[in-house]
């Protein structure tokens, strides 16, 4: 039994490299076609992470940088599953997030927006999915903020999400948006995605069933990585 290849990436639902309305992409987008590569061991493998790599509090952005108290803002839970295109869970994979604080300011030496830094908010977290592909974070809802693209562009509230999967060709960075945000259809970065359904897939749904009453409201955000023609399980060597 040799490992099987992953499904080809459907580039029609990913943003193309060159999208002039997102101005920074103009000088940073390759102009030649990419060379299509059949999967080899260099692509189907990828780094493996374990619980030694992270700490249990790393997925709690309300506590992981708290100095004098909790951060300011609407307390939220973001939770969901990492699945592949066959709807199979992707277990034990590293999910990392980063975001602005409730005022829309990042704790980054290059961010000079006039909203204040929150002394109790770092803005990053990480976790491993469990055996069923589940993950969750506790954080505060990030604020919208202005950015230099067109004269008056505002980013919708968003959380950046980085996912590894089990092979390097599943590697993905994306952004989570929040259901009902009127800035989503106006954002040149969101609109780099040509497919409306793919944008909808990046919009986390309010999940009242997962709220913690009188504490935190919840949003559900499932992530889909590339599928595989068959998965090698030790107890099911034949694959599919």
């Amino acid at each position: 039994m040799t490992p099987a290849e992953y499904y080809q990436r459907d580039r029609r639902l990913h943003p193309p490299a060159h999208v002039p309305s997102y101005k920074t992409s103009v000088a940073r987008s390759p102009r030649y076609s990419m060379i299509s590569l059949q999967n080899s061991v260099s692509e189907i493998t990828g780094p493996v992470f374990g619980h030694n790599d992270i700490d249990p509090i790393d997925n709690d952005l309300i506590k992981n940088y708290a100095k004098t108290g909790d951060p300011v803002g609407e307390r939220i839970i973001v939770h969901g599953r990492v699945l592949d295109e066959n709807a199979r869970p992707v277990p034990n994979t590293l999910v990392e997030i980063w975001q602005a604080n409730a005022g829309g300011r990042y704790r980054h030496k290059k961010d000079t927006y006039l909203a204040p830094i929150d002394p109790n908010f770092g803005g990053c977290g990480r976790t491993l999915t469990d055996e069923n592909g589940y993950y969750f974070f506790r954080t505060v809802k990030p604020g919208a903020y202005p950015w230099r693209n067109w004269v008056n562009n505002w980013r919708p509230a968003h959380i950046h999400v980085s996912i590894f999967g089990s092979g390097f060709l599943q590697r993905l960075i994306t952004q989570l948006y929040f259901e009902g945000d009127p800035l989503i259809p106006l954002c040149p970065i969101v609109q780099t995605i040509p497919d409306p359904d793919a944008i909808e897939q990046l919009t986390a749904k309010l999940d009242l069933n997962a709220t913690i009453p009188l504490d935190s409201i919840a949003y559900k955000f499932d992530i889909v990585l590339r599928g595989r023609r068959s998965t090698l399980f030790e107890n099911r060597l034949e694959g599919n």
């Binding site: 490992p3 639902l13 997102y22 987008s29 030649y32 590569l37 980063w98 944008i199 990046l202």
Partner: protein
Amino acid sequence: MPQNLNYLRETASQTAGPYVHIGLAPGAAGFDIYRQELGWDIAGPNARGEPIRVEGLVIDGMGSPVKDVLLEVWQANADGNYAHPEGGGPVEEGFRGWGRVITDFETGEWGFDTVKPGAVTPRAKLTSSVAQKVRETHPDWQGRADETHAPMAPHLNLWIVARGINIGLNTRMYFEDEAEANAADPVLNLIEWEHRRATLIAKRTERDGKIVYRFDIRLQGDNETVFFDI
């Protein structure tokens, strides 16, 4: 009832943005939060093979260095094995073969220390379970089923994200001093334009007794680096 394929669709990519460091390398963003950041030691303390340093710039279409880029490296050990259950064989204790690299915010220069990987050999023969069943029962059906794959020359796999890059860019770095292996490499040989193969080959130099490979990545313009749709 219409038949339904029931596949999910992959989540779309979005740019990592200018503040990618907060999430993936918070020390570079200017604050300490984690007990340890990930990806700073690529090969680990026990790695065999030639210690090397790799340095370069990512250059945009205007010829300027991209100063907010984050690269990830993925490589085999000196025996050509990856640290993964399907990686071809065992690796040294502590060898992960994966690293995160950020640029100097002022100059755009990046660099990392690792060991030179071995040839990855043989290239995995990959077939789906369906194709395998067809081949077993009808050996003549798939003429290419028994095609062999040549070994891949030593290489590093690189993945580049930054503000303005809408989906991470995959490329490979090969080694100038592996001319014979490079000439036989099945991936380099896929590139029809021979002069473009040179964009994937790092220049070997020596500095203070240390082997340094120089690898500049051009996102656009003359000598645009070859990127791969994997």
